[in-house]
Every structure is written in structure tokens, then in C-alpha cells.
Amino acid sequence: MIDAFASGLLQVVTLDLRLWEIVGLSLAVSLSAVVLATLLGLPLGAAIAVGRFRGRQGVIVLLNALMGLPPVVVGLFIYLLLSRAGPLGELGLLFTPQAMVFAQTVLVLPIIAALARQAVEDAWREYEEQLRSLGVDGLRGALTILWDIRFSLLTAVLAGLGRASAEVGAVMIVGGNIDGVTRVMTTAIALETSKGDLPLALGLGFVLIAVVIALNAAAHLVKQAAERRYG
């Protein structure tokens, strides 16, 4: 396996522009999906955390369960939505990076919302009296807490990023793995494996892991610097 690793990495390092196109697209798709999922998921999770409504426990259970949505099922579902024969066919979004962002957002949203919900609920216990005393209630209190626990939420966001950059089922189905247009790292790895070029697939795999580690390291440094400033 060391041989395969070495030969694969060599191929990868000497590979042309195409590899960096693929890496760039992977990052663009997954980061876009995480950004969208965060913008939607954080307020959603916070609202459920502080809200009091009938069926709240059921919503929480469902949200937690959706963290485990199988990517290939999400891909299939969105394919049927975006297919010409489907309800959103007019948009012509099938086999585009936008469709991939859409699919990954759906995958990542429950993760961020569920983890945010738990974090905000835990913090609400600490903050509740003081905030209510100051006249801060409901959604405003939830948003204040969201900002205050932002460093803990970073972990939720990174979990979402991990899920997005690792999955292949959804982006394969809605993207079509089109050369130069919708081929990302995971689908490229699947392709090279199916072509029997295992060393190259392995090399690509290590590049993917290295990229994700680099992103996590960057996030960690940002978090540390900010924590020093804000306490």
C-alpha cells in the first residue's frame, strides 16, 4: 500500500491544472453549502431551542434523526425534483454545480441546526434569568446567545463541512460527474477507482484529507485568536 500511496501522490503532484480545478470546485461547492446551511441552520436551531410549542420534542427528535440522512437518498430526491420530468425541471439546474450546492445544503442543514439547538439550549439555562431581567426574550435572546457561543458553534459548522466534503452519493447523482464541470474530489476518486487506477484514487484521497485538515486547522487558529480577544 505504501507503494500505491507514493505512486499516487507522485501522479497527483505532477498532475495538471485539472486536479486544481477539481479541488477548487470541491471547495466552492462544499463551502457554499456550509455557508447556506449555517445561515439557515443557526437561527432555526436557536429558535427551536428557546421556543415553546406543541410537538417541540417531536421536532427535536426529527431534527436529530435527519443528521443521518443518507447522501444518496438526498441526491435521488433532488434529482427527481430537478429532472425535466419533475416539478422544478424548468429551472434547468440538473447537472450543474448549483444543484450540488443545493443537495449538500440539504444534507448539512440538519447537522448544523441540531447541534446549534443543543448548544443554545444548554446556554439558555445559564443566560435565561439575566436576559429576561434585561427585557430580552424569545428570538432576540436566542440570537444574542448564538453570537455569545459562537466559538462552540464553530465545531458544529466544521462537522457540517466534514460531511459535505466527504460525501459522494448526492453530488454524483445531481451533478453527473461531468468532466470539467461537476467533477469534484469524491466523484473523481470514485471514477478512478472504477477505472482500476487505484494509486491515483488513493493519491486523490490523501489530497482531499489534506485539504480538509488544512481547513480545520485554519478554523482552529481563527477561533484561538478570537477567544483571546473576547474571553
Binding site: L134, G135, R229
Partner: protein
């Protein structure tokens, strides 16, 4: 605009977990006097203050203020202050923002409040790294910025050393001097005598005795209060 005092508690009860914590209490709190609430642990001091401040809903009876829009015109300082993860100044600015103060005025008013409690030097420090005493002063600055008519304090110096306690008491006196009614619970008899005009002694959820400071100390009228005073360390 009318003041929100006097505050009337009518047949106020509170029960939780099968236990009655506050029992059919009738009380009127007037402007102008600093009220100290004394009582043993579990007597119901914290619950009573939270009922008055509106953080808890009574099981029976009513809390009746004399004016409108009461929330903004009273403030509360807790035994353990909760600070937002931002600078001291930003914590006060936040409170002003919630209260609807114009953006242009917030910074200035916040700095005035910090100056009042002696925290000007620490304005740009993250609030969470301040000491216990400094955080409590910051909590008072937050309250000051609102210029409340009533300030509730729930054992504000219980976790502080004597030096910090003196600083807090100085601020409380400043509130009193500026016309804010003080309602404070404490374990310290010395503190009660230093800061209060009247004492309400709570015994197992009932008001057992209510008297001006000079009548309550050194010897209260009721036996329950008497036993309490004897049992407490007098000069802290």
C-alpha cells in the same frame, strides 16, 4: 409619567415541586425606603424577589405595580452575574440597545455608567476575564444605564471579598442617593444595617416581621427573627 411604586403584593403564593415556597403574602413596597429582605436559607427570599421582578409567575395572587411598562423601569442584579462574551463597554451598550436608546447616545451613556461604578479603565476588557467584584460592578453599571426606579439585588456580595463588597455597597448607596428604590436580600446583618431603611424578615415563606432598621436591630420583636439574628455572624 407616574412612578411604578408603590408595589402591591396581593395574596401572593408560589408553589413548586409540591412545596409551598411563598405563602399568601400581602405586602406594599413604597418609594423612598431601602428594603432589606432577611431570612434563613430556603425561607424564600430569592423566589420572592423573582416574583416581584416578574421572572416567576405566581401560583396564586397578584403582583401589582402602580405604573405601566414596568419591565424597563426596574432592574435586577443576581448573586452570580452573567456577562456576554464581549467587552465591558459592549455589555452596557447591549443593554441600552435592547432598551431602545438611539445608537448615537449608546456609547456615551455606557461610558457614564462605567464611570459611575469605577470601571472606566476596564471598558475595553473582555467582560468574562474580569474579577468577581469587577463583574458585579459591571452588572450594576448595566442596571445604572437603565436608570431604574427599583433595583432588586439578590445577595450581590455573597461571593465577594470584603474589599469588593465595600465597592459594591458604595455603588448601591449611589443608586439610593439618585432616587432608585433598593430591594436587597442579604445574609450579612452588618450590610443590612449599613444600607437599609427597613427590614422584612421572611420565615418559611411568610413575612414574620417588618420593621424599620432601628427597631429591628439589635433585637427584633418576633422570636423567629430573634433566633435568626442570634444565629448569624453579626459584624460582617
Amino acid at each position: 409619567m407616574n412612578g411604578i411604586l408603590p408595589l402591591h403584593l396581593e395574596n401572593l403564593s408560589f408553589a413548586a415541586g409540591g412545596r409551598t415556597i411563598i405563602e399568601r403574602t400581602n405586602l406594599t413596597l413604597e418609594a423612598g425606603t431601602s428594603t432589606i429582605i432577611l431570612g434563613a436559607n430556603g425561607a424564600g427570599k430569592s423566589v420572592l424577589m423573582r416574583l416581584m421582578h416578574g421572572l416567576l409567575a405566581p401560583s396564586a395572587g397578584r403582583v401589582v405595580w402602580s405604573g405601566e411598562r414596568v419591565r424597563r423601569r426596574q432592574a435586577m442584579v443576581f448573586q452570580r452575574p452573567v456577562m456576554l462574551r464581549r467587552t465591558a463597554l459592549a455589555n452596557v451598550v447591549y443593554v441600552l440597545k435592547v432598551a431602545g436608546v438611539d445608537a448615537a447616545d449608546r456609547s456615551r451613556l455606557a461610558r457614564e455608567a462605567l464611570a459611575e461604578v469605577g470601571l472606566t479603565q476596564l471598558a475595553e476588557r473582555p467582560a468574562r476575564v474580569l474579577s468577581g467584584g469587577e463583574q458585579q460592578r459591571l452588572a450594576l453599571a448595566r442596571a445604572w444605564a437603565l436608570h431604574p426606579e427599583v433595583l432588586f439585588l439578590d445577595e450581590p456580595t455573597a461571593n465577594l471579598d470584603p474589599g469588593a463588597t465595600r465597592e459594591i455597597e458604595a455603588v448601591i448607596r449611589a443608586f439610593d442617593a439618585s432616587g432608585t428604590k433598593i430591594v436587597m436580600s442579604t445574609h450579612s446583618l452588618g450590610q443590612a444595617r449599613r444600607l437599609g431603611d427597613e427590614v422584612i424578615y421572611l420565615h418559611q415563606g411568610r413575612v414574620a416581621e417588618r420593621a424599620p432598621i432601628e427597631k429591628f436591630f439589635p433585637v427584633p420583636s418576633t422570636t423567629e427573627a430573634g433566633a435568626f439574628v442570634k444565629g448569624e455572624l453579626p459584624w460582617t
